[in-house]
């Protein structure tokens, strides 16, 4: 009778006589997903017929495994339970057969059924893993549907900001306590950019703050931004000697 080959991955190459170096045992048992997996391995490895298992041989090999493993670390209860089951089946097979017991099921049938069932699932798990999986083997389109990136946040458009500013400005006008100046926005933007550049460092060289290759307009705006930062005492501009390097430092040390 032909015995099926091992489906799926071959687990470990072990010597035919089942000698396992003790230190390898932990690894060996970790390789198995439980007693059924270990039994299947033993059956397939030794070309045993799953439908006509030689219980004495299988039990001997199984016990050899778990006895060796027990010396190394605590064994999961399932392995011990299976050992008991194997011994029970083996002993039932030793009992003399009576006439009325002929109709009774082979004591090994239930074990064979479970092993075959488990082997199918083991195979199914491999097949499942081989299917294309979203995020791993293909991606889904991700174009923002809204004007905004994150729909769960309230939406804001630049026009909302203009209106909000207008309402602040008109309130300020009514209170007449604060002068709101119109200012070149790009200057404020460059002020922020310069401060970001200065973040986390002592000082920067004056020239370093000007973007190389930027147009004249940008250079002027950067210069104005530096002056404005100095005026608002957000930065200090220092020069240690005449014609020496000019440094800009943020006034934010604690």
């Amino acid at each position: 009778m032909i015995v099926a080959r091992i489906h799926g991955e071959a687990i470990l190459e072990l010597p035919q006589d089942l000698y396992i170096p003790p230190e390898a045992l932990e690894i060996v048992l970790d390789t198995f997903e439980g007693p059924l997996d270990l039994l299947l391995y033993l059956i397939r490895k030794h070309n045993l017929d799953i439908l006509d298992i030689c219980m004495a041989e299988l039990t001997r090999q199984y016990l050899a495994y778990i006895n060796a493993a027990k010396q190394r670390h605590e064994l999961a209860a399932e392995y011990l339970l299976m050992a008991a089951l194997l011994i029970e089946i083996k002993s039932r097979m030793l009992l003399p057969k009576h006439a009325e017991m002929e109709a009774e099921e082979d004591p090994r049938a239930e074990l064979a059924r479970r092993l075959l069932e488990y082997e199918k699932i083991k195979q199914a798990a491999i097949t499942l893993d081989a299917l294309e999986q979203a995020g791993r083997d293909f991606l889904l389109p991700h174009v923002p549907r809204d004007w905004l990136d994150i729909p769960e946040f309230p939406g804001v458009e630049s026009e909302d900001l203009r209106r909000a500013w207008m309402s602040v400005a008109s309130r300020v006008r009514m209170m007449n306590s604060h002068k709101v100046e119109r200012e070149e926005l790009s200057i404020r933007e460059h002020m922020a950019r310069i401060l970001k550049k200065l973040q986390g460092r002592n000082a920067a060289e004056f020239v370093e703050l000007f973007e190389a290759g930027a147009g004249l307009a940008i250079l002027i705006v950067t210069f104005l931004a530096l002056l404005e930062l100095a005026r608002e005492s957000l930065v200090s501009i220092v020069q240690t000697d005449v014609f020496g390097t000019i440094y800009v430092k943020a006034n934010n040390e604690f």
Binding site: I2, L36, Q123, R136, F138, L139, P141, R145
Partner: protein, 179 residues
């Protein structure tokens, strides 16, 4: 709205959602002006239009959606080199049992695998919305019954559970012996 315009709207809708859209939902885009039949025709046209590109229009369990073709992945992985980690054997076996034997309780899974099932594995697939509790078995303790979701099918690009590869009979001789 002419059919060109409708095609543009449908394409935009499909490209801006990760979730598949059922045809009945697509009809809302046109406020009932188009019959499901018309929408199906538009979908076939869209599918042809996208042939030969990096994305394809596919039908999955919960509707239609675009996805990248598998041959794109090796390029796209270069943008985001951290690969999603693969599931452990224990996790995959648990998932396979739920997929093929659903609905199952945790006890059923343990019976088949012969070992305890970690709560972590079930939680992991629940949080990915691949499995869900669909009821309780009427036995003492009322254990939860797990089944796979349509999200699971969508993510594996399947239309229904019957599209899963059939369980292989490892030993066909078994049947011969029994009969």
């Amino acid at each position: 709205m002419n059919s060109d315009e409708a095609g543009i709207v449908l394409e935009a809708a499909l490209l801006t959602t990760e979730d598949a859209i059922p045809i009945i939902e697509m009809a809302k885009l046109f406020e009932g002006e188009l019959a499901p039949r018309d929408i199906e025709n538009m979908l076939s046209e869209l599918r042809c239009k996208w042939a030969g590109s990096g994305l394809e229009l596919v039908e999955v369990s919960s509707g239609w959606r675009f996805r990248t073709r598998p041959e794109m992945q090796k390029f796209l992985d270069r943008l985001d080199p951290k690969k999603p980690q693969r599931y452990s054997r224990a996790a995959l076996e648990t998932l396979a049992i739920i997929a093929y034997k659903q609905p199952v309780t945790r006890g059923d899974i343990e019976e088949i695998r012969g070992v305890a099932v970690s709560t972590q594995i079930l939680k992991m697939f629940e949080s990915r919305c691949w499995i869900e509790v669909i009821g309780h078995r009427d036995v003492p303790g009322k254990p939860s019954l797990y089944a796979t979701t349509s999200r699971f099918l969508d993510d594996l690009n399947l239309r229904s559970i019957s599209d899963l590869p059939p369980l292989q009979n490892i030993e066909p001789q078994l049947e011969q012996h029994d009969t």
